[in-house]
């Protein structure tokens, strides 16, 4: 019984913990930062937010990143007067 329960928990956790698709908020955030980088001739390390990045290894981290991207992008829109088109809502 205990072993079956353990296997069930492990299976469910594995499903929850598997790779997930990048959140739309992070797709938009990455596009915006890359456009800002192009304007300023800079480069920003965004590896964790792109497909296959560390953000998308399980649901818990994905949620953290999705919220971070959403609020990060919202702040840029609030505070920056002349954003590139890629940053528009």
């Amino acid at each position: 019984m205990v072993v079956r329960l353990a296997l069930l928990v492990f299976a469910v956790s594995g499903c929850l913990g598997g790779p997930v698709t990048p959140a739309p908020t992070c797709v938009a955030y990455v596009a915006c930062i890359q456009a800002l980088d192009a304007q300023a001739s800079t480069t920003t390390n965004l590896d964790r937010f792109v497909a296959g990045g560390a953000c998308w290894t399980n649901g818990e981290i994905a949620e953290l990143c999705a919220t971070g991207c959403e609020r990060g992008l919202a702040r840029l829109r609030e505070r920056s007067a002349a954003l590139p088109e890629a940053c528009a809502p």
Partner: protein, 186 residues
């Protein structure tokens, strides 16, 4: 043996989302040795007037989420610490943020500030400590190349525990929490 299987089954997936825990001292700035790895820095506002300083240095512009979290306890309902990334080349904070900062910004420095005002207040479950926390809500920051600091302060002078969560990539140091479980797990 069955108990071991159960323990592993319960623990392994949880560790995949863990930050490396560290205990902060408000009198001593904490230097993050590997800022590209995720970490969780824990501290206590004993008086409410403390100003925790974390020093970081990046070899390139680096985007990562930051959040402050507090044990989900009724006594800490009003305890909402704030955080700021301060450093050269960052944008100027607005007047409300500048007034809330615990120290004047050095000349030429700007700040990205989160005064923890999201409503309703986000709550999350932390799988290593197996505890619920209130969160400021994660917000991505583009850290500048070079030196910068993370400040954690209590704008309303409230007291209590907090944690500062940073980054995504695993550091693998989560077992450090076992050394002082009652502190980290509240």
């Amino acid at each position: 043996m069955r108990r071991l299987v159960l323990m592993l089954a319960l623990t392994m997936p949880a560790l995949a989302g863990a930050h490396t825990p560290v205990k902060l001292d408000p009198k001593v700035p904490y230097v993050v040795a590997a800022p590209k790895v995720s970490f969780a820095l824990y501290g206590v506002f004993e008086s409410g007037s403390e100003h925790f300083v974390i020093k970081l240095s990046f070899d390139e512009r680096f985007a990562a989420p930051v959040e402050v979290f507090v044990p989900h306890e009724q006594a800490l309902k009003e305890h909402r610490p704030a955080w700021a990334v301060v450093g050269p080349g960052l944008p100027a904070p607005n007047e409300e943020e500048r007034a809330a900062l615990p120290a004047p910004l050095p000349a030429g420095w700007g700040a990205i500030v989160d005064l923890d005002t999201v409503s309703p207040r986000p709550v999350f479950y932390e799988f290593v400590m197996r505890r619920f926390y209130w969160s400021s809500g994660a917000m991505n920051v583009v850290f500048p190349k070079g030196d910068c600091e993370l400040w954690v302060f209590s704008p309303r002078g409230t007291k209590g525990k907090f944690g500062l969560g940073f980054g995504v990539e695993e550091g693998g140091g989560y077992m450090a929490a076992l050394e002082d479980w009652s502190f980290y797990a509240y």
